[in-house]
Structure formats: C-alpha cells, structure tokens
Amino acid sequence: MQWLERHVPKLVLAPSFIAALLFVYGFIGWTAWVSFTRSRLLPNYDLVGTIQYERLFASPRWEVALNNLFVFGVLFIGVAMLLGLLLAIFLDQKIRTEGVLRTIYLYPMALSLIVTGTAWKWMLNPGLGLESMVRGWGFETFSFTWITDPDMAIYTVVIAGVWQASGFVMALFLAGLRSVDGEIIKAAQVDGIPTHRIYTAIIIPSMAPIFLSAFIVLSHLAIKSFDLVIALTGGGPGYATDLPATYMYAMAFSRGDIGQAASSAMIMMMIVFAIVVPYLYSELRAKHD
C-alpha cells in the first residue's frame, strides 16, 4: 500500500512513456536500420551500408524534391513571417474592427490543408479560375497558368501555404506586440521617438523569441508539408512540385521501395532536428536557470 502510494505517479506516466519509447524512438530506430538495407517491397534486415542514400541523392526526382523544399521553405517562411508581422503591426494601431479582422485572417488555420488545396486548385484553374475572371474584366491576354507550369507550380504551393499560415503568424506576433512592457513604450514616447522608430528600435527587437517560435513552427510545417501538395498539384505536373514528404509517401506506398522511403524519411528527420534540437535545447536550458 505504501509502495503503491509512492509510485502511483510513475505508474500513471509509464504507459505514455513506454508508448513514446516504442512508437517514437523504436520506430525511428527501425526506419534508420531499414534505410541501410536493400529493402524493396518487403523489409529486409541485412545491413548493406549507405546504398539507399546513394540512390536517393542520385535520383533526379529527389533532387527536385529537395530543391522544392528549399524554394518553398524559404518563400513560405519568409513571406508568412513578413505578412504576419505587417498585419500584426497594422492591427496594433487601435483598429476598431480588430476582433472581426483577426477572425478573418486566422480562420484558414482551422481548415484542413486538403480543403485549402482544393479551393486554391479551383481558383488557380487556368480555364475557369482567376485567369478567366481577369480576362472577363477585359484583359484578354492575361495569362496565369502557374499551376500547370512545371517551373512555376511550386509557387502556387507557396501562395496557398502562405494563405493558410500567415494569419497564425499574425496572431503570434500580435500577442508578442501586446506583451511588450508598456512603460518602455511610454518612456520612448515621452522622449519624442516617432512611432515607426519605436517599432524598429524597441518593440520588434524585444520580440526575438517570438520570431524564433514562428520560424520553428513554420519550418516544421514546411518540412512536413504533404497534404497541401497532394491536394493542390498532386506533386505534378510530372513530379515538378514533389517535396521530400510526397517523395517518401510515393516510395513507401505506390512504388513499393521501402529502402528509398526509409532513407528519405531519415533525411527529413535530420532536417527537422537540425532546426528543432538547438531550439528545444535552448528552451530547456533557459527553463533550468
């Protein structure tokens, strides 16, 4: 009875912890192992070295996927951050309709990326969407066919992604703006510092942690992006809009190439770790001090 009383907290936490060990760390280990084998349709556990990684980096499709991740990641994170910050600053100017506007800017975050992709796919449809709308206004030569253009299609993913996530960044930044010490701002106003300087010199620098959070969340979203591409372009035209996530899925479930799926998943994880681990580490460190 005494023993039980003392160990109840551990017993309560145990199942979740064991699940994490097994289904997170164990599974990562399994995938890592398989990424060093010749597994095809079925897993094969004989280690053969880095052959899968060599195949991966020799694959033009993977090259496209990595390139796309870079282009998409940089633009998606950059534009969403910029737009989010801008909207947050705009909304911070004692806007009478702030509540309504905030609701409008943020609602895409409640949608499934499949819904977002479906909507934008329709709007970007060259024959019936925005293109024909603008032509209908009299601009007969207007052309907007990015979604079917292999060179431009990835930018449509950026558009839809920014549409979905920028409101969320706005909410983060707005909360950050509001948490800046009011006395500092009053002191700056008393000193006669103009509003735009108050923002650039005082408020925005003090929001560094929020920039970091937004960056982490957005990069995490970018690397995991899968649904949006599937719904918007299906990875096409051809594999022009493939991302590592869609590459991995295609290898795992339609090509029956488990080795390639595992190695591409491992690369994805390493990219995430390269971003998240330093962040988590600094967070945990900061909390201990």
Partner: protein, 296 residues
C-alpha cells in the same frame, strides 16, 4: 494593450487622416484575400456546372441550386464507390471523438504528474515525450503500418484511433503540464496533509480547475485529427477512410465530367466541423495554437 499611436507634432492632421484611411484600406484588401477562397468555394458550390463554365469565378450564382451539396453528401464518387462524403464524414466522427477523448484524458493525467508530482527523471521523461511532437511523421509511417498489421487493426478505425492517440499524447501532455505548473505546489501539499491521495487530489482539486485547458486541448486535438490526411491516407482502406482522404479522392476522381461545384461543396462539408469550432470557440482555438508553438 500598448499605446503606440504617437503622432509627432510636425505631422499635419490631413496626413494623419490619409494614413488612417490607407491603413484601413490595406486591412480591407487583406481581409478580401483571406475571404476570397471561402467565398469562391461557397458561390461555386451553389452554381450549376453550366453557370460555372460561362460565368465569372467571383460572380454570385444567378440561380442558387443545392444539387451539388446533395451530390457531395450522398452521391459523389470516390474512386469506384459513389456514396458521397456521408459515410466518410461519420468515419471521421467515429475516429475523432474517441481519439480526442483518450488523448485528452492521458494528457491530463501525464501533465498532472509532470507538473505536480515530480520524481527523479520526470523532466527527462517529459522531454522525451515532447520530442515526439516534433518528428516528421514520415519517419514512423513504415514501422507503424507493420505494427498495425501485427496488432490486427490495420486499415481499421480503431487502428487510426490508436495512431492518433499515440502521437497526440505529447501535445496534450504539454498543454496540461503548462497549465498545471501555474497552480501552486502548496495546493497539492495542503491536500496531502488533508489526507487526500494522488487521484483524490486530481479529482477534487485539479479537475474542477481544468475546464479552460480541457477546452483548449479538445479543440486542438479535434482540429488536428479531423484535418489529418497523412495518417488517414496511409493507414485506412476503402470504407474506413476519414473525410479528408475521401475529399481528395472525390476531387481527383477521373470518372465522368469534372463537377467543380460538387468538389467545392464537398470541401466545405469537410471543413465545416472545424470552422464551426473556430467560430464558436475561437478564443480557445488561438490559445491552443499559440500554446502549442510558443511554449514548445
């Protein structure tokens, strides 16, 4: 609220008003850009195919028809079956409700332990669990597919529930932990001296305080699970697919004439539950979003 509306004395009144108007104009333009897809989805879903082909994207329907909605709900084809979204909608409900409940309860208990019953190594265990929130799920897809097969729940709704619970616990634990650490440890101490044990303290003291965080967690988990596509498409089979997978299948179905109005109606149906939650409990939704990211 910080007051940053400072106007230097040199700025003329006229300029100030012009700036104000410019500000509202910009905010209005952005509002339009965020609302446009929803507006287009809605109007398209109420038009006939004929009108879609001839009219403008943003024109209001000349003649409102709910045919597309009816088809999307009960007649649209997802591959070979043509039952509409209806069965998949209920799949998602039957998947989301238990998965949300189980992961919330587990998160509450875990968070309670980590925040109030610290033992040696509890923080490390918490960090290890939290880490599971950050992995790209691609890295667990293959072994999970095999594991579900071994457990004999592959391609089933219980299998999907299992997956969502396993990978949802990290976040739910984080939410409750961050909430419960703000409750003074003295409360637990006082209750211990009063003779209450682990579960009694949770039930009598912590649970009655937890309504806000329960709402945040339930909304977060519901949104995540309802909107999930990756697990749904990887671990379901014909008949057990969640609504996001079915929607994608309808949109990409190649049989027959492309019915954009049905696609849009289907998309709205798939989005409706989470949109509704957002409209009804937006405050908690935002709190979940920011808590899930800032506190990481």
């Amino acid at each position: 609220m910080t007051d940053t509306s400072y106007a230097p004395p040199t700025q003329s009144r006229g300029l100030k008003i012009a700036l104000r108007w410019g500000l509202y104009l910009m905010l209005g333009v952005f509002a339009v850009w965020y609302l446009l897809p929803l507006f287009v989805m809605l109007t398209t879903s109420l038009k006939s195919l004929e009108e879609i082909r001839t009219g403008s994207l943003i024109a209001l329907p000349r003649e409102v028809t709910f045919d597309a909605w009816r088809t999307a709900w009960s007649g649209a084809c997802t591959g070979i079956q043509c039952e509409g979204l209806q069965p998949y909608f209920w799949n998602s409900v039957m998947l989301a409700v238990p998965a949300v409940m189980i992961s919330t309860v587990l998160g509450a208990m875990n968070g309670y332990v980590v925040a109030q019953w610290q033992f040696r190594g509890a923080n490390i265990i918490f960090a290890l669990m939290l880490f599971g929130c950050f992995i790209p799920f691609q890295v667990v897809l293959l072994p999970m597919a095999r594991t579900l097969g071994i457990l004999n729940i592959a391609g089933s709704i219980p299998g999907l529930i299992f997956v969502h619970v396993v990978y949802g616990i990290g976040f739910t634990t984080l939410f409750f932990r961050n909430y419960y650490v703000t409750i003074p440890a003295e409360l637990t101490k006082a209750a211990k001296i009063d003779g209450a044990g682990f579960f009694r303290i949770f039930w009598s003291i912590f649970l009655p305080l937890s309504l806000p965080i329960i709402v945040v967690t339930v909304i977060w988990q519901f949104t995540q699970i309802w909107n999930d596509f990756l697990f749904g498409v990887s671990f379901s089979q014909a008949g057990t697919q969640p609504i996001t997978v079915a929607l994608n299948n309808i949109v990409n179905s190649t049989t027959g004439v492309k019915a954009y109005n049905v696609d849009m109606a289907a998309a709205i149906i798939a989005a409706l539950p989470t949109l509704l939650v957002y409209v009804v409990a937006g405050k908690y939704f935002i709190r979940g979003l920011t808590a899930g990211s800032v506190k990481g």
